[in-house]
């Protein structure tokens, strides 16, 4: 169709803006609420916390003290102890839990589907209980008298009752033990889904090559499950660095700071001693540790993740 070239109507600025909003306005509207909530309840608090960590904070008049808070916490014995406890707790729980989760999933995967469902459901069940519920139950299990479930069990073996949570030698270990015997349900479901996603042809090919069960496991199963392992590792470390409820309810950080984790220390500094500036500094140290460890895990694990 040939028409005489009509002069191009010059587009007024307002209509360009109008067209932009016609094309994209809805999309911005759709993300508006989350973005607003993010700005008010995440971004603003993070920036405020950063500023507070350089202040002696007071609601009325805060004073800028530079790196004083950071200096104080580096010199604080309790702070280092809390870092150490948190590290011990993380190293003691996360790898062990991943191993338990993996072995259980691998075994469940061998079962017929009816039994798979049964074990999945049974092992998942405790995951729906809250940290508060779990902590209360374990308070009773760890009861230091011989009525505690664990001490009854020791009694059956002819051993003396242990003051699980009440002495610094066993308190942190008790929290770790409780974590081991806790729920692996969520991880199991992730692993099983990933195992189901491994192409059967790989195993068939391996069978033809007479590859042993171990070879199949180490050359096919384990490498192909690496993304799931990485996911569990990263989320596991992040959660265990922030462990709070069990410490608060079961030991209050004691005895003699044996179970004071960094998250618990931050809580005490802020809401028991009202040292908001110092607590903010502590929380930034926690954030930096978490981010650094997560990045290292990604780097280390994902180097050969593509397949």
């Amino acid at each position: 169709m040939q028409t005489a070239l009509a002069p191009k109507p010059s587009v007024p600025r307002t209509s360009r803006v109008a067209r932009f909003w016609r094309d994209y306005g809805w999309a911005y509207l759709f993300i508006l609420a989350p973005v607003l909530l993010f700005l008010i309840f995440t971004l603003y608090p993070v920036l405020t916390a950063l500023v507070m960590s350089f202040q002696k904070y007071n609601i009325m008049n805060s004073t800028w003290v530079g790196l004083d808070n950071y200096e104080r916490l580096v010199k604080d014995e309790t702070f280092w102890k809390s870092i150490k406890n948190t590290l011990i707790f993380t190293v003691g729980t996360v790898p062990v839990n991943i191993l338990i989760t993996f072995v259980l999933s691998y075994f469940i995967y061998q079962m017929k589907s009816k039994w798979q469902t049964f074990f999945k459901a049974t092992l998942y069940l405790p995951a729906v209980a809250s940290g508060v519920t779990i902590s209360i139950v374990w308070l009773a299990i760890f009861d230091p008298t011989d009525s505690g479930l664990l001490n009854r069990f020791l009694g059956l073996l002819g051993l003396d009752p242990v003051i699980w949570l009440g002495q610094s030698g066993t308190a942190l270990f008790s929290l770790i033990l409780m974590n081991w015997l806790g729920s692996h349900g969520a991880g199991i479901i992730l692993y099983l889904a990933a195992m189901g996603g491994i192409p059967k042809s790989l195993y068939e090919a391996a069978d033809i090559d007479h590859a042993s069960g171990w070879t199949q496991f180490s050359k096919i199963t384990w490498p192909l499950l690496k993304p799931t392992t990485l996911y569990l590792l990263v989320t596991g470390v992040i959660t265990s660095f922030q462990v709070f409820i069990s410490v608060y309810l079961m030991t209050q950080g004691g005895p003699n700071f044996a179970t004071t984790t960094i998250a618990y220390l931050i809580y005490e500094t802020a809401f028991k001693f009202y040292e908001f500036g110092l607590a903010s500094a502590q929380s930034f140290v926690l954030a930096i540790i978490i981010i650094v460890i997560s990045v290292i895990q990604f780097k280390y694990f994902s180097s050969d993740i593509e397949y």
Binding site: F107, Y124, S130, G131, I136, G197, S283
Partner: protein, 277 residues
């Protein structure tokens, strides 16, 4: 694998799984049996693994000593509202990020996602000051609900889920002059039902079980959620293990019932968006 090898593996696997299933369930069982035996008579808490006499007196004591009904009401109200807001806003934003093209969408999405690594402890203190001193909302439902109204993790899940939906229906609806919100409401939401069901269930459980923020922001007994109330009860009554176990059961039972009735969603749900490969 050779068949004898396979058989041995199956036997070992079965034994280990049964043992571990028992280990997993024993604490929950201990909680239940502990809550239905009267230990008030004896000085120490000594329930039997197989109870000889059942008694509901631990529950009576728990309800008599606390505002448990009020706490349960608070928890239910907050969890329902948070489920609705999270499902609605996460679906809406997830849909926008997955299916709509607009300038800045990638930048905004990755910024949101990036902040997931920042631990809650960092934002906690300013958030507390903001709520209590700036907005004067301390000890209110609003303060408990607002910061959790939609989570980045949920937006991510819904984006993953929405991107699996066919785009052709969206185009068809657009040609039919359906408004963008109309498309979301009438086309996308019905298709996304499986994902929404999972998101709703997990949000509900997480909101019910949430402890730290409601614990910080509430200070009156009537505003406590059941988890916060339970914790306060443990500190107040550290000797009455029977009532404590009854309380723990009350706090967990709704979720246990939910789990048994919606098992299918729990056992398939969390893989959405989490596993690749």
């Amino acid at each position: 694998m050779k068949s004898t090898q396979k058989k041995t593996l199956l036997v070992v696997a079965s034994i280990l799984l049964v043992v571990w299933a028992l280990v997993t369930v024993i604490p929950m069982y201990w909680m239940l049996v502990g809550s239905v035996q009267d230990s008030a008579m004896s000085a120490s808490f000594k329930p039997q693994m197989i109870p000889e006499q059942l008694s509901l007196s631990p529950y009576e004591r728990f309800f008599a000593k606390t505002d448990a009904w009020r706490w349960l009401y608070n928890s239910l109200l907050i969890s329902v509202i948070l489920t609705v807001t999270n499902v609605f806003f996460a679906s809406l934003a997830g849909y926008a990020f997955a299916k709509l093209k607009f300038p800045g969408s990638q930048a905004v999405f990755w910024t949101l996602l990036g902040t997931m690594m920042i631990p809650a402890q960092v934002t906690l203190i300013p958030l507390y000051i903001l709520m209590v001193n700036v907005f004067d909302l301390g000890d209110t439902y609003t303060a408990i609900i607002l910061p959790a109204a939609v989570s980045v993790g949920n937006i991510f899940l819904m984006k993953q889920f929405m991107s699996t939906l066919p785009t052709s229906l969206i185009h068809a609806a657009r040609i039919d002059a359906c408004s963008e919100f109309g498309i979301f409401w009438k086309v996308i939401l019905p298709m996304a039902k499986p994902g929404i069901a999972v998101l709703a269930i997990f949000t509900f459980v997480a909101s019910w079980n949430e402890f730290f923020w409601p614990f910080l922001i509430t200070n009156s007994n009537e505003m406590r959620t059941v988890q916060v109330g339970l914790a306060s009860f443990v500190f107040a009554e550290s000797t009455d293990f029977g009532a404590m176990m009854a309380g723990a059961t009350i706090g967990a039972l709704p979720m246990i019932i939910l789990f048994f009735s919606l098992q299918r969603y729990f056992l398939q749900g969390i893989t959405i968006g989490a596993v690749k490969g």
